[in-house]
């Protein structure tokens, strides 16, 4: 599969962006330049400067510190969603792809149905039933994204199911579970990885969108989406308020999509 040892430039660029942002968010859990929720009437709406890298907001809070915190929230939510949907999707995909049959038929029908609708619409249905809040957002999107992973893993599994190495493993008496996880899964891992990065992106976008709409993370916790919805009210007097969190989201999504594009490019 791997023809040259040179790392793909997309992976390099995307990886670099992600590593920097992840470091920022990790540091943000322990240290931020300013207290992210501390209000200070004296330093309201300060433009970006050396002291406040991204300026301050309507409560005089340092936007960069809040972006660091918000990055942590967004990354945690995005990763949790993908862990839930990726694990469930991989297992379901392997099982349905390997065994086929009526169960496969039924599960794929359900997946088709879920896939037919935009995830944010389905998430809104979940949220209106369960109520808003970060756990419910994770739960809702975690379930909603299962079909996208199931579909990819399933079609790859079907491809590998009839390969000779799988057949001979079966002849040697290797159990089905072992064949699925030890023989088939490592082969489809790079395809799976590419879909995971796409999944993280979708999760981040959906979470930011829902927080922007005010039904995701509850205030005063910092979230990039809810910061943007606050910032919109002060667009006239403090445009930098929107730029900080907005550009951070773009950078994060760009990083993951470069990464997935690179993985896809170098694995085939």
């Amino acid at each position: 599969m791997r023809k040259n040892k040179k790392i793909d430039s997309f992976i390099l660029a995307g990886g670099l962006i992600i590593v920097i942002l992840m470091l920022l968010s990790l540091i943000g859990f322990f240290y931020t330049p300013y207290e992210p929720n501390k209000m200070d009437a004296a330093s309201k709406f300060l433009a970006p400067s050396l002291k406040h890298f991204m300026g301050t907001d309507h409560f005089g809070r340092d936007i960069f510190s809040r972006v660091m915190k918000g990055l942590g929230t967004t990354a945690t939510v995005g990763l949790s969603i993908v862990v839930i949907s990726g694990t469930a999707g991989a297992i379901l995909g392997l099982l349905t792809g390997y065994f086929g049959g009526i169960a496969d038929e039924i599960i794929m029908r359900i997946c088709d149905m879920i896939n037919g609708f935009p995830s944010i619409l389905l998430a809104l249905v979940f949220i209106s039933v369960l109520g808003s809040g970060i756990t419910n957002v994770i739960l809702a999107l975690g379930i909603i994204y299962i079909p996208s992973f199931t579909r990819i893993v399933r079609s790859e599994t079907i491809k590998y199911r009839n390969y000779d190495f799988v057949k001979s493993a079966r002849l040697m008496g290797v159990g089905s579970i072992r064949i699925m996880f030890v023989h088939i899964f490592p082969n489809i891992f790079s395809t799976f990885l590419a879909s995971v990065t796409v999944g993280i992106n979708n999760a981040i976008l959906a979470e930011a969108g829902m927080s922007y709409l005010g039904i995701g993370v509850n205030p005063p916790a910092a979230s990039l989406g809810s910061m943007l919805s606050d910032a919109q009210a002060y667009l006239q007097s403090a445009p930098w308020y929107a730029l900080g969190p907005g550009l951070t989201i773009i950078l994060m999504i760009l990083g993951f999509s470069l990464l997935s594009e690179g993985i896809r490019r170098s694995s085939c």
Partner: protein
């Protein structure tokens, strides 16, 4: 003919299942609906009276049958918050969202088709030009629609004063003013989606360009233009048409968010307020409307697909 009948039958079944899901999902809501409306300090008698009034004491299947019967007629009950018929609440909001979606869709087609064809005509796929355009489309795709909206409001609305942000004009008052204001939300939805469509179209065209019939056409002396428009585009369009079904679904979802950004009083905005205030009859009705629109559009796309590629109905592919 058999193909169409089968499709229509599936459509009816799907609509039926979806309506059932939409009804029963809101039945399992934790907590009592009545208490949500009356508040926790309501006396048991008040609760009982309200339950009787709303008909909540009847078995769930009977209520579903009744609800479905009314829903088909466009009657979704009474809003908890506004104490008016849900249908009258939606009546002047639905056209707003539909206009927004239609305008976005038209813009998407006008933006992405020329660009997609242009990009696919690049001499060397994988060359420098190709890579730059690829990265550019990647960046545009990375912009969340609500942030793009904020940027457009800031640059065009506040700095350049091309339009008045938040100055929505009702279509019943001034149609041109309405269209003019709706142009900006529509552009917002269209730009982020177009990047996706352009990429999809380009990939589809590139794939077609490698087909044998293209080489044959060239060897018969056809010009690149003729090959592109006469042969490649026709075949390359087929997957794009199915993709448009997905795009419509995304545009509907996008309008929920973008209506919020531009304070457009459509059903998306109403949906969000109704979710925060737990006004379930309204939420139920809006979800059902959006889902129905998506299903119907996909049905139409299926039909269109069949017209473009007769192989489908004959069981090939």
């Amino acid at each position: 003919m058999k193909f169409y009948l089968k499709k229509i039958f599936t459509l009816i079944i799907t609509l039926f299942i979806i309506s059932g899901i939409t009804f029963f999902v809101f039945e399992i809501i934790p907590g009592d609906r009545v208490l949500n409306v009356l508040g926790t300090d309501a006396t048991p008698e008040m609760v009982e009276a309200m339950r009787e009034e709303l008909g909540l004491n009847r078995p769930v299947t009977v209520r579903y049958a009744d609800w479905l019967k009314d829903a088909v007629k466009g009657d979704f009950g009474t809003s908890y918050n506004y104490s008016v018929e849900v249908s009258s609440l939606l009546k002047d909001k639905l056209p707003v969202t539909l206009t927004l979606a239609a305008m976005s869709l038209i813009l998407i087609i006008f933006i992405s088709f020329p660009l997609g064809i242009l990009w696919a005509s690049v001499k060397k796929p994988g060359g420098r030009k190709d890579t730059i355009v690829g990265i550019l489309s990647q960046i545009i795709m990375s912009i969340p629609s609500f942030f793009l909206g904020i940027i457009i409001i800031w640059v065009l609305g506040i700095i350049l004063k091309v339009f008045a942000p938040g100055g929505y004009i009702s279509y019943s008052k001034d149609m041109t003013g309405f269209i003019k204001y709706m142009f900006f939300p529509a552009v917002t939805i269209a730009i982020s989606k177009s990047a996706q469509v352009v990429r999809f179209l380009r990939n589809s065209l590139i794939k077609e360009k490698k087909a044998d019939y293209v080489r044959t056409a060239y060897s018969k002396g056809a010009t690149p233009k003729k090959v592109m428009y006469g042969h490649v585009l026709r075949n390359g369009m087929i997957p794009v048409v199915t993709f448009l079904g997905t795009i419509v679904a995304d545009v509907m979802a996008g309008s929920i968010v973008v209506e919020q950004v531009y304070s457009v009083p459509g059903i998306g905005r109403l949906l969000i307020t109704s979710i925060s205030t737990r006004d379930f009859p309204v939420v139920q009705a809006i979800i059902l409307y959006i889902v129905f629109i998506i299903i119907i559009v996909n049905f139409v796309v299926d039909m269109l697909y069949q017209l473009l590629d007769p192989r489908i109905s004959q069981g090939h592919r």
